[in-house]
Amino acid sequence: MTDLIADLETPTAPAGTGTVRLGQPVSRVDGVAKVTGRARYAAEHPAADLVHGVVVNSTIAKGRIISLDTRKAREVPGVLAVLTHENRPRTRSLGLAFKDLTAPAGSPFKPLHDDRIRYSGQPVALVLAETFEAARAASRLVRVRYDERPHDTNLMANLRKAHRPRPLKFGYKPPPSEKGDARAAYGAAEVKIDAVYTAGVEHHNPMEMFASTVILGEDGHLTIYDKNQSSINCRSYVSRVFGLKKSQVTVRNPYVGGAFGSGLRPQYQLPLAVMGTLHLGRSVRVVMTRQQMFTFGHRPETWQRVRLAADRDGTLRSIEHVAIAETSRMEDYTEVVVNWSGKLYACDNIRLGYRLVDLDQYTPIDMRAPGAAHGVHALEVAMDELAVELDMDPLELRLRNYTESSPTEGLPYSSKELRACYTRGAERFGWADRPPHPRSMRDGHELVGWGMATGIWDAAQFYGRATAVLHADGRLVVSSAASDIGTGTYTVMTQIAAATMGLPLEDVVFQLGDSNLPLASVEGGSSHVATIGSAVEGACVELRQKLLRIAGRLPGSPFEHLTLDQVEFTDGSLRVAGSPERSMRLVDLLAAADEQRLEASHTLVSNMFRKRKWALGTHSAVFCEVKVDEDLGTARVTRVVSAIAAGRIMNLKTATSQISGGVVWGISQALHEETHSDHRLGRFMNHNLSEYHVPVNADISNIEVLFVAEDDRVASRLGAKGVGEIGIVGVSAAVCNAVHHATGRRVRSTPMTPDKIMRPW
């Protein structure tokens, strides 16, 4: 039985919204709560007698703690305790207990576990105090002496040490084996490209800091408001790490202020806050600072080499794509960087490789379009280089090598409207007017360039369960332990349920963000709509079935012996299809049957037998204009058209927001964003939003998003594929290609900051 959880927030559409269709650009049901500050984030939940925790981080990258002097910190008025590896509450010692659902192969980091320092910024102490101010002041007084050992954080200096990754990670697929003979084909081809591309480290930097508020109940139950992308994952982590029964722990994430993948794994503030509670027997809150947001996972730095070979007419003869990325010494973080190069273009000879280098730093973690953001960048810049070499329009080159099936998988795409993306995107952008040669357009001091690229991402579907309960008053409550990391889950799930049941949107509540709700997979990989949305629809269809069965049993019922396809659910009523007069309001139906509530559930498990016959994916075509001042090295993206094929769109408004947000991040990846490491110190240095540059409003001009029609019932029963990642993929390559078109110079390292773009000196 799943009903409304009393103290869980349930955003609802405003009265008068009425019935909605799937696809309709419905405004966010949680919009008002968010902009008025009523929506509470992890650090904002009140708790009686709350203790505040502040984390102390290591300043060295490798070695051991010789001593930790906490005396001065403990003397600060209001300080209750300083937890370190020496006095923390007991945790399981086995690495396995720390493995969360999305952990890669290896042994996860265990906070405050022992005296070993594994990376710079590692938490070494938690100061607990009556006030945040006291905890923060005291945190500065903890003195740590280290036995420092030589560290290495430099990927580029250690490419030789690259090894084959251990592949075990949820959602990860190793590169497929070689197709044909790529090296021989390269050797024999007429036209060749061989280039190395590098991409810097990035940190997610969602607006909301990672935070946990652990509320201790009278019965010893822990209710934890935590920032994450799966309350179930974090509940399981806490119960396993601390040896607590699952029933003793509830994790909630009703509102998440962005996460972008950083919340796929529990971050260290969560176990630390739980330690505080177990140690003091009080409720505890731990919030990271912006600086500490740079002390856990990141998008790994990568080195990539792409070799392409083609005939004079542009027909691809060979694709080779090898990537080397960094990971920690604890785990083999893997992501799909090169596999895309075996899926996008028709080619008989494809060789892909992916290797990792172990370094003294924290394990990287998925960041929006993990692997594809930089992997597809390299492929798509190489394709542009090939087009230049062939003296061919880059769009024409892509069309020349268009494929309806995935070459390395040897399977047809279940749907692939990329050709329509190219056509409509090019038309909207005005690509036909592009002068073929670089340095052809100028505007004052600026050179103008037009570039394009293709994007590709998965159409993932995991597992999930949803429950729908229709109440006597007509209200429908739908539940699943899903997450809404700002993407619009509340809205879209409410919309799917309302549209399926024919109820006004305001009569439907979707509750998510509580580990006691029906099982849901992590919100990641653009899977949530295809997964949870399908479960929601399934539960509602089951509910319709139950309602029809009840209606058919009523005396004199016009619905007797009718099947679901002979009736309609609309305007809050059940009616015989085509006979609006033979109808009954759902509330009257429940009343007549003397039911207070009617419940139905659906468990969605992806149909692998069916999917095995198909290649699945989302696609995009990105066109952009840049203006480059080559004297000063500054570039700005003045226009972007992103044409997307991502299955059936559930909500045009939230989907468009996802794509335009992705485009902004792609521009950032291309021009702005990088975490700089000082390898002598083994430490990220620009750890604040003043020096870690993401675009500001003034950097972003016109972004147009187009969706081409796709409806893919292989991908999901809704026809939807998901739009979370595809928006960023290809954008940075389009910008890079536009910079080349503007200046005639190829920048093979991102971000393309002024020092890389400016005319050589």
């Binding site: 923060r136 702005h672 750890h687 540059h693 950097d699 000196w761």
Partner: protein, 363 residues
């Protein structure tokens, strides 16, 4: 952030007294707090006492008897940038302010505080790393480290940090004078003497005494430059980023179009705003041609030295000087910001939202 005492002063005398009476430990005035609070949160600044000077006045902007303009130390950056006299007579000052920080910060930050902002060197901000400016004698991490942002002129073996202000580059170019007060009375500090090079005391950014309060910044009469001045800022995004290189350039042209006077200062290249009188003098009497601008840039960057990552800043600074002088000649006041919009040219801000609040620029 550590515990500190807090006193609020109502007059300049109160403020000076409060600083003198504040007990042991370092004491600091606080105005807009846009930099000091950050530094306290990061444990870089650890004042034992703060004296709030936001209520002491000093926020006037008024003409001087000498024919210049006096900018109150506590006038906000945003109010200064949009002040009609500043815009009309010293567009370089408006342009420099509007190129800096973000609208929110400019609404809080004061003119006096702007002069005292600390470097944005990563190492200075991270107490987990050695830094001579923060802890003299610890060593400079930047010299062999991440030096992209760092100085190409006037650096020392102890510090290669740069001064982050935009406003100060314009003030240096215009030859402003800093008015300061202490219990001992008033003192006037020529702008080029206000900030210092790191030398072997990188912890000292300025020549301001610990007991001194900035009360005003005096702009000398420079009306000849108003029509031909430019603040050019090269940065890694369109707003809210410190300059890789910036240039304040101004030309006073005679009836024949020859250069009667020139002003040139660079930001982002040294521990202080880098004014080069030799480059200015070389332009005087010359025709304002690209060749003359190239020569001025050459002179301005004489002795420039790079350290690895910041090698690009030398050619970048050179090109920026040439560009800025060209823009000044053409009467283009800035390469970013509101100044590029038509209403800046003469239409008043009054009655528009800009009259009340500084708003973000659009390119």
């Amino acid at each position: 952030m550590r515990a500190f005492t807090f006193a609020s002063a109502r007059t300049v005398e109160d403020a000076l007294d409060a600083l003198a009476d504040g007990g042991p430990g370092p004491k600091r005035f606080i105005a807009g707090g846009t930099n000091l609070i950050d530094l306290m949160k990061e444990d870089v600044a650890r004042p034992a006492a703060l004296v709030d000077i936001n209520r002491v006045g000093l926020d006037e902007i008024r003409p001087t008897e000498a024919g210049g303009l006096l900018l109150g130390a506590l006038a906000r950056n945003a109010a200064t940038a949009r002040h009609p006299e500043v815009r009309r007579r010293y567009p370089l000052v408006s342009a420099a302010i509007l190129a800096g920080a973000s609208p929110q910060i400019r609404n809080m930050a004061t003119n006096g505080g702007n002069l005292l902002q600390r470097t944005r060197c990563h190492y200075f901000y991270d107490v987990g790393t050695p830094c001579n400016k923060r802890e003299p004698g610890e060593g400079c991490s930047a010299i062999e480290g991440l030096a992209r942002q760092h100085a190409i002129l006037g650096a020392s073996e102890h510090c290669i940090a740069t001064h982050p202000s935009d406003l100060c580059v314009a003030l240096a170019a215009l030859g402003a004078v800093v008015h300061v007060r202490s219990a001992a009375g008033q003192r006037l500090i020529p702008f080029e003497q206000f900030h210092r090079l790191p030398g072997d005391e990188p912890q000292r950014d300025t020549t301001l005494g610990e007991d001194e309060l900035i009360t005003a910044i005096e702009l000398p009469p420079s009306d000849g430059y108003a029509a031909h001045s430019t603040y050019l800022k090269v940065r890694e995004r369109a707003s809210y980023a410190f300059a890789l290189v910036s240039v304040a350039a101004a030309l006073d042209l005679d009836e024949d179009g020859a250069v009667r006077g020139a002003r040139l200062a660079l930001g982002g290249v040294a521990h202080k705003p880098w004014r080069v009188p030799e480059a200015e003098e070389a332009l005087v009497g010359a025709r304002p041609t690209p060749a003359a601008f190239e020569a001025a840039a050459e002179t301005a960057l004489a002795g420039a030295q790079s350290r690895g990552d910041n090698a690009f800043k030398i050619p970048l600074a050179h090109r920026a000087v040439v560009r800025a002088l060209g823009m000044a000649l053409d009467g283009v006041p800035a390469n970013t910001g509101l100044l590029g919009l038509p209403f800046f040219a003469g239409e008043p801000f009054e009655g528009t939202p800009l009259d009340r609040m500084d708003t973000e620029e659009q390119p």
